[in-house]
Amino acid sequence: MASPSLMDTLFQRGLDDIIKGVRHQQSSTECIFISRVIEEIRREIKSTDLQTKSTALQKLTYLNSIHFIDMSWASFHAIECISSPTFSHKKIGYLAISQSFSESTPVILLISNQLRKDLKSGNEFEVSLALDCLSRIGTVDLCRDLASEVFILMSSSKVFIRKKAIGVVLKLFEKYPDAVRVCFKKLVESLEGSDSPIVSAVVGVFCELSAKDPRSYLPLAPEFYRILVDSKNNWVLIKVLKIFVKLAPLEPRLAKRLVEPICDHMRKTGAKSLVFECIRTVVTSFTEYESAMKLAAAKIREFLMEDDPNLKYLGLHAISIMAPKHLWAVLENKDVVIQSLSDEDPNIKLESLRLVMAMASESNLMETCRVLVNYALKSDPDFCNEILGSILSTCCQNVYEVIIDFDWYVSLLGEMSRIPNCKKGEEIENQLIDIGMRVKDVRPELVRIARDLLIDPALLGNPFLHRLLSAAAWVCGEYVEFSRNPVELMEALLQPRTSLLPSSIRTVYMQSAFKILIFCIHSYFLQKEDMTSEVSDLSSKRECSESSDLATGKALVQSDQDEGFNPRESNQSYEYPSVVDTGDGQSSTPTFMEKKSLMHESIVNLLNLMELVLSPLSGSLDVEIQERACNVLGFMELVQQEFSNPLIRKEANLDREEVIVSRVVEWVHDGFTEELGPVSVTAQDRVPIPDELVLKENLTDLEAICGGVELPAPGSFSLTSPYYGESAVFSVSNLQAEEDSEPSTESTSLLTEHRKRHELYYLPSEKNKIPANDYPPANDPSSSINTNDATEDLVKLADQSLVSKRKPNHAKPRPVVVKLEEGEAAPVVSKKPELKDDLLSGAIHDILLGNEVKAASSQGNPSDKSSSKRKGKAKHVDLLDSKENLAVGEQPNHENPSSRRSKHRGDGKQKSKKSKGKKNGDGREDDGEKESQKIRDHHGRHKSRQRADAPINVVPQTPDIPDYLL
């Protein structure tokens, strides 16, 4: 369109032409067509002819809503259109405004006058347009300026206008809480009658209001009750029920009166929507009324039996609301619930899954999970993950409360991670580590599961499972002493395909490999000490397994040499089967330690393997990998002197070297065997802050404060001193308690080694803990029920408490953690909305309760708040104020009872004062300080006058509201 053709200038295209035009375009040319139309519109909209302008605007509005074309640039043209005397132009303009204006639209203030004019228009449809616009885009300024006009319309003789005016009140209250003083009474009066469209609108408004701040509307409960009993309109009844759900928790006496009429509706009505709303009301708010619950359950049953999937879904949903307190409702409908699990509707499936999990208990958990996991295998990926997620979250509730057999659960976790669609790697990771740390007896099984996961090269290809593999690697490294074949683990950790892992997880692999290496060398030394005393006598089987190990090692070395420079290529010749075979061959042996002795050669093989894999990584670009590789390589260099070629060395030299190496290994091993356990999130908080420590002061003052004292003192004091003190107290008391109840016997099996090392990792928890929580719930069931030999468990328990004095603290902090986090987060979140609500609820309190104290304070609040936001717009404010006062002057004409005249006038005055305060609530806070200071002073006077006014306004209103509840 280089130059507009004659056709274009003479005839304007209308909306229909545009719609047809777009329809004729191919999807490829549509964009070009639209951008040409926009060009056209930009030209036409500048026209002085309002007809042309409004048609252009209408086209633009259409493109905006259907083709998402930006139209914010046309905001001024929209204002021009609404000021046209022609209705159709006005209408187009209003539609454009409500569709495109926002609080930040710069010209929004300009529509205030036109809106006022249209609100006063004699044409009800023009009024309706203006009301609709206000309800959509109302800003603080608009709402304040137009509050009195809306108030007048609330008494309009035309129902069509009145109900819309009532609808706008919601926006008015939200943006300009002081409007409550003017409009609230009228609003309450409109509740009279029970079936008119007006009541419907008012109840709708109260439903929205009470959702935000129910307490303020409690005094209106009698009105709502009357409507609940009298009304025949389902829409109204539903809204009233919604209001009562909000009010019921605040006033316990309400429930008694409400139950009967609600049940009545439930029995009589034919409208499913009302029945469902009644059910929902009963199951959320009146759970202690047995008969009502029974009735609700019966109605739910009816829903479940329907063919309509909507009703079925809502029925299941209602049951799931009941489930936490009334599990019988779920059990009664068990058949439908289980059946719904295979429904074709995803909503129904999800709801029934939730219910199935709600039914899970200690006794049926294993069966439930087995069924669900099998079902997950057959489901679509999304639902499969929903199932896995809900199993995981149910099982870990309250520190694995429902789980008795942890060996089973750990193997279930392993099974779940092999489900092809599984995306829950992260959650499983957390639980594997968590269980490893909390539940000692499950560790051998855990290591077995982790090994299976690690040696499965297929899992490495699934990025969702990488986190899970890192947990498996960590478990294998941390609890390597339970492994049957550390060499095999090592090979799994160093397999070439690990290059597929992200570096953060690769480092976990490397660290675990290092732990395993230390463990092997350490046990080699232990063994050697034994061997020096007696002549070694290897069984043929052992030799055999050794040689196979050796062979594997060599094969590995070779293949690694081939692949050494290109680890990314997956190595097909990688000899897994042989490794697995070795493992299987030894499967009869309980642990690695007891059966298999480490030969010198196998250590050498391990070292060679590690060196091969890690040396290229010492040049890795990733800092963490490089660092760890260098550490391990450095250590290996030290150890290798010992293992390189002992035959050549001289005896004396060897001994000395060996002593050094074995001591180093000993140290590192001790370091690694130091057990990590769960530490409460709040542990840090429990360290008492010494009085002298001022954390928020500037550190430069530190020298002055401490004087000559050396700086480290405060730190060490704060951390160690109280810690040691408390721990001593704690361990003694625990010790005594355990000694009283249980016999102390010699330690059992391998766990002893583990239990030696509960030193410095845990900060003592507070002493005022609930005694019931004293033992970690996770440990308790497993040790008492899990294994067959109950006495042995008792022994273990006693042993545990003797050796690991700090153990009782480990899992205990968990519930505390949750509480603390909530306690800390909640106030921060709720702070903001409260402010606004306070304004509104305060105002409503004034009106409804006539509480003088509250009136004064809530009036103080808004003015305080707004004064802090004052900006330099005083002139504009005054202008508007004067107009407003005019409008207020007219008000009494529309009011029936003359006795209220004075009061409303008072309200009006007050409002205009307020409006100054509120004027600047639109958040432009960066204006001049001086100006705002001036206004604040000015405002201070208003405030004092307002306080004086308050009681006079409010007191006479009190008797209007029947207050039978209080």
Partner: protein, 166 residues
Amino acid sequence: MIKSVLVINTQGKPRLTKFYDILTVEKQQELLRSVFGVLCSRADNVSNFVEAESIFGPDSRLVYKHYATLYFVIVFDSSENELAMLDLIQVFVETLDKCFRNVSELDIVFNYSKLHNILDGIIFGGQVMETSSAEIIRAVEEISKLEAASNSISLVPKTVSGWRSR
């Protein structure tokens, strides 16, 4: 409170969009796309509720109905009843049907302005104001008359279609 009313055809093209919250066009477009993405993947004989919190944020629900080539969608929060909203879609469609006599997608495409009149007659600022289709039609017809009256003042229609229709 109702958050949004959408009419989308089975190709994913919007036929009517109404958002009662102030949103940017980009956001509106994104919401519409995600809603359509969910709807078109649903079979015909399943329930009419869709999980909407992932699209519209917390405390939002979505009901829809599928008529011929169109999806009618209402997004709302916890102060509305799900089944009542389904009824509301029914009211809307019934009203359209009465206004256009056997409403089809084409009627909806070409009567953009009237469509808004009807919807605004039912829902006012996110609140349900009128549920009787007779009342709605009465108001809509009055508005049409008023528009026609105001347009007839300009005797010569300036638009091409107006010219042709003479």
